[in-house]
Symmetry: C2
Subunit: 360 residues, 2 copies
């Protein structure tokens, strides 16, 4: 275990796709979907802590979640929780953490990861990350984890790679947006396309250089505050200057522009758990395709549903439903069609408008 | 208010038709379906107590519900709660109460009523009951309350009456079972048929005489224990002898056989609340036919549902359901088709078999 290896967990996400399970005050990363007693954030922390010492793990999040993070990760020193005063997407978030870590260790090799993804094959994942950290230590490369697709998924972005032989590190040809069904099938069958996992590895010097080259309006802000990092002035500096950062993702702002981007191609049982349908896909199901998360269920003449209740002793008895989401948590019960789950965003807005903040 | 007027409320019913709202330990009569803060039993008691003094009101029930009744009706003296040791349908229940009251007041005029029905027009109901009690005081008649049908309902039994003019007291021609749709329409349109409400009025001498005439195997049991009623020996006598009573309804055992049966025809907004569908029928509904009991709801593209959650602050968000029952209470959520609600009985059995007694 080398002390030059660092991890940055991005834990400030908010989203209503898993409402009513997720709430404004407790978004997805803080939830335990599988009854393991560890939230997705805790699982992410536990996973990286097997290869990176706790003093080298940082979390970037929103002030709103300070208490939740301290409660869920009491072992993490508070100085390693970085608070973004505003939401500015992933590029400013990563720049903040990079400059902060560079001020402590200018040789740092960093893995950056979302806090709300699922990794089913942890051992392979950790071996991959260690291999990647070695690679970025030795090479001036920005590395992104590409997941070998096992289906023509339309919910993910893809990365096309040069078809070099005999290496898991491949040069990027193009980044693509989420494809339609037809295109996803072409991508899947070509063997040249990998899912874009949003997990990155680099040496801190390389990512700072990349910000200088491709997002100077971001790097100039953090460079101007370099002397405040890890001092009592840091918080004031961030609060005064973070809002000036453009709202831009690391993919769009850096990765799609840089020429030294490589894909670390792997197959680690990854899912971004982006939708109820994705959650159903990776959950155990009965012979009729019904998944039951954290609850007891009896289904009659029902197929391809996902039921999630917040109390593991609660029983759902369901008759004659086909392809529904049945989700209940605290003061909300949601029943809606799986194929229409993009509408949940609107339902949350309607619930708040009609009945108030305590329902969202 | 004459002290010769008595009321017997039958409160021992058990049933799973409103599961999971109703439970073995808390059947329908103990529930408050409409958020009035008074259960159906309490409403029944309140209603009769407006015309009958509390010391003349009796409840016949099962030992299992002793605590619930004391809790819900603290004003009722315990000596007026009669416990049936076994379930034997309504004839033995009514015989027990009749002999008990006769031992106190041989001139008693009694109204017997279920504890779990709904009366929407209370004033008309009470006027009707008072009129009926006067009638049975003056006439050697067994009186049953017949409800003027407002629709060709197939869920109720009907009573056909002689078409005497100018009186609300009509002689019975026939009792009928629940009709099919076609027959119900004929009944409804004829004007000769009334719904059988299960509410009866008679002088205690007449009902005891009727038991002697038509169910001597029941009356002989209670007659043999007459000396024990209202003494410390009563409980032992009942516990030793009640089980010998045949399991038979008052309709089948007495009313359909006696020749002095009259129907008191009225229209008092009565419902036996026998099914979720019946409950939906009499509940306020939105323009799409959706009823929401004791909860907040938002419906999208949904029609003719009934949603009942046990917490009035709980919100149900429902999309694309047509004709469903959505009922949640404590540790159970039920979603099933309204047209299949007779299957709920089986669901309860399955829930108990699979997950144990705490779910029924």
């Amino acid at each position: 275990m080398t002390s030059d290896n660092y991890c940055v967990i991005m834990g400030g996400g908010i989203g209503s796709r898993f409402w009513p399970f997720s709430r404004v005050n407790k978004p997805k990363q803080f939830l335990d979907f599988f009854g393991t007693e560890r939230s997705l954030l805790q699982q992410t922390f536990d996973r990286f802590n097997k290869i990176i010492p706790v003093e080298n793990i940082y979390i970037v999040t929103n002030e709103l979640y300070a208490d939740l993070i301290k409660e869920q990760l009491p072992e993490l020193p508070e100085t390693q929780i970085l608070f973004e005063p505003q939401r500015r997407n992933t590029a400013p978030c990563i720049a903040f953490a990079s400059y902060r870590i560079k001020a402590i260790n200018p040789n740092a090799n960093i893995v950056v990861a979302p806090s709300d993804h699922l990794i089913l094959r942890e051992n392979e994942f950790l071996i991959t990350i260690k291999t990647g950290l070695e690679f970025v230590k030795e090479n001036k490369a920005l590395l992104t984890l590409g997941i070998k697709p096992n289906r023509p998924e339309t919910g993910y972005g893809y990365i096309q790679v040069e078809s070099e032989e005999n290496t898991i590190f491949k040069k990027v040809k193009t980044f693509t947006e989420k494809p339609n069904t037809e295109l996803a099938k072409v991508f899947y069958e070509s063997g040249e396309f990998f899912w874009n996992s949003g997990i990155f590895l680099w040496n801190v010097q390389q990512i700072v250089q990349a910000f200088n080259d491709h997002l100077p309006e971001v790097s100039s802000i953090f460079a101007s505050g370099e002397h405040t990092f890890n001092t009592s002035e840091e918080r004031t500096f961030i609060n005064n200057n973070f809002s000036a950062c453009p709202n831009i993702s690391i993919d769009y702002g850096v990765m799609e522009k840089a020429s030294n981007v490589y894909v670390l191609c792997t197959d680690v049982g990854w899912s971004d758990l982006g939708t109820w349908s994705a959650l159903r896909d990776i959950s155990p199901k009965d012979e009729h395709g019904n998944a039951s998360l954290k609850c007891k269920t009896i289904y009659y003449n029902s197929n391809n549903n996902i039921t999630a209740l917040s109390n593991p002793n609660k029983l759902a008895v369901i008759q004659d439903l086909e392809g529904y989401i049945i989700a209940e948590s605290e003061n909300v019960l949601l029943i809606c069609k799986k194929d229409d789950e993009q509408k949940i965003r609107q339902y949350v807005i309607d619930a708040q408008l009609n009945f108030g903040d305590e329902y969202v």
